[in-house]
Symmetry: C2
Subunit: 239 residues, 2 copies
C-alpha cells in the first residue's frame, strides 16, 4: 500500500487522539515555506514539525512512512498524509475558504491557479534541481557543471516572464487578493536568491515579493521556520 493512496497512513497519529489536528512537516528554507505561509494566512491551528534536511531527517523510516518520496512538505490530516506542494496548498485553501487563498469564483480562476502552481513546480523547480541537486541527474562532475549553467540560465529566462506577469499585479499575482500562488511565489524568490540571480533585474516581481514579505502572516511563517524545535520520532514517543 502506498501512502500516496487516499488512505490513512500508518503514522502514530491516531494513537495520540489528535484527530482533526493539522501537522505540517517542513524543512527551513524549503518549498514547504509556501505551506507555512498559507497556514498562517488562513489563521489555521497546526502543529509544525521541522526536519533538518541537511542531517537527513527526511530519509528516516518514520518520515518515509509519512512521505515515501522523502520530501517536504507533508501535511497530515486525520491520519492521511498529503504531499507535493500543490496538494498541500489545495487542501489548505479548501479547508479555510474564508481566507480566499484560491481565487475560486469560477472554474477558470481555479484552473489558472493550478496552472501557475504547475508552472512554478515543474519548470522553476526543475531548473533549481539542476543547479542545487545535481546528484539526482548524474554522478559525473562535468555533467553536473553543465546542468548548473543551463539550469541557472533557464531559471532567469522564466523570471522574465514572471516579471512581465507581475507588471500589473496589485495585491496578488492572480486575482485580487493574496493567494496560494503568491505563497509559492515567495519560494521562487528564495530559489532565485540561492541561485545568485540578480533579482533587481526583475523590478515588477521584486515589488510584488517585497509587499508579500511585509505581511504579518508571512513574518509569522518566517518566525515559525526558525523557532520550531527539530522534529524527531523519539521526541514524539516521549511527549
Amino acid at each position: 500500500m502506498s501512502p500516496l493512496k487516499d488512505r490513512p497512513s500508518t503514522v502514530g497519529y491516531r494513537l495520540e487522539g489528535r484527530i482533526g489536528v493539522l501537522e505540517l512537516y517542513f524543512g527551513a528554507g524549503s518549498s514547504a515555506f509556501a505551506a507555512l505561509v498559507a497556514l498562517e494566512a488562513a489563521g489555521a491551528e497546526y502543529v509544525p514539525h521541522r526536519l533538518d534536511l541537511a542531517a537527513g531527517d527526511q530519509r528516516i523510516p518514520e518520515y518515509l512512512s509519512i512521505n515515501p518520496l522523502g520530501r517536504v512538505p507533508a501535511l497530515v490530516v486525520d491520519g492521511t498524509s498529503i504531499t507535493e506542494i500543490s496538494g498541500v496548498l489545495s487542501y489548505i485553501s479548501a479547508r479555510y475558504p474564508e481566507a480566499a487563498l484560491i481565487p475560486a469564483r469560477n472554474p477558470i480562476e481555479t484552473a489558472k491557479t493550478y496552472e501557475w502552481l504547475s508552472w512554478f513546480s515543474s519548470t522553476f523547480h526543475m531548473y533549481v534541481a539542476q543547479v542545487l541537486r545535481g546528484e539526482r541527474f548524474s554522478d559525473d562532475p562535468k555533467v553536473r557543471e553543465a546542468l548548473k549553467v543551463s539550469g541557472r540560465r533557464n531559471f532567469a529566462a522564466e523570471l522574465s516572464r514572471l516579471d512581465k506577469a507581475a507588471e500589473d499585479a496589485t495585491n496578488g499575482l492572480i486575482g485580487d487578493n493574496f493567494s496560494i500562488v503568491d505563497a509559492f511565489n515567495l519560494v521562487v524568490w528564495r530559489w532565485s536568491e540561492k541561485l545568485d540571480i540578480e533579482t533587481a533585474t526583475f523590478p515588477h516581481w521584486a515589488r510584488c515579493v517585497r509587499a508579500a514579505f511585509a505581511r504579518p502572516f508571512v513574518q509569522r511563517a518566517i518566525a515559525c521556520e526558525s523557532t520550531t524545535e527539530r522534529w524527531h520520532p523519539a521526541h514524539r514517543a516521549s511527549a
Copy 2:
C-alpha cells in the same frame, strides 16, 4: 501582459462569436492526450486543434499568443487560455461535475488528486525530458547521454511506486471512479513506452492501464488524435 494572467487572451476567438465553446490545442502523442480523454469522458462539446509538434506549429506567433511557453495542451475558454495539464484538467473536471472526474467529496480527496497530478507532471515528466528533450538541458552530447541513462533509471524507479499504488485499484487509481489522475496516467504509460521500459514488469499498473484503454471515451480520444486535421491560423482565417 502575460497570457498566464487571468485575462482574455488576444486570440481571434471572440471575433468568431463562439463564446462558450471550448477549443483544445493538442499534439498527437503528447501529454495533451489526458485533456482529450477528460473532455471525452465528460461528454464535452469542444473543437480540437491538432498541432504538428515535429513541424514546430507550437512555436509560430499565432500559437505563442495562446500559450507563450509554446507547449500543449492549451484550452481556450471564453477567450482565456488555460495551460499546463493540471490547469486544463482542473477546468474540465469543474465544468462537468456530473462526470465526477475529480473525486472531490471532500478537501482531502481533492488535495490527493493534485498531489498525484503534481507527482506525474513534476517527477515523471522531468525524467522524460531528460531522455527525450536533452536539448533543454545541454548542447553537449556527452551530457545528454548521461541524462538519458539517469532519466530512464529514475523513471523506472518511480514506476515501481506506481505499480504498488495500483495494486488495489478498482476502477480508478484514486477514489472509486475514473478520474483525471487516470487520464494523466495514460500519458505516463505512453511515456514509458517511448522510453522502451518493459511495462510487463509492473503488472498491477498494466492491468489498470489496459482497463482504461478499453473504455469507449478513451478510444474516442485516440480516434480524435489521428482524425483531427492539422491546425493552422490560415485555415482559421479562411474558415
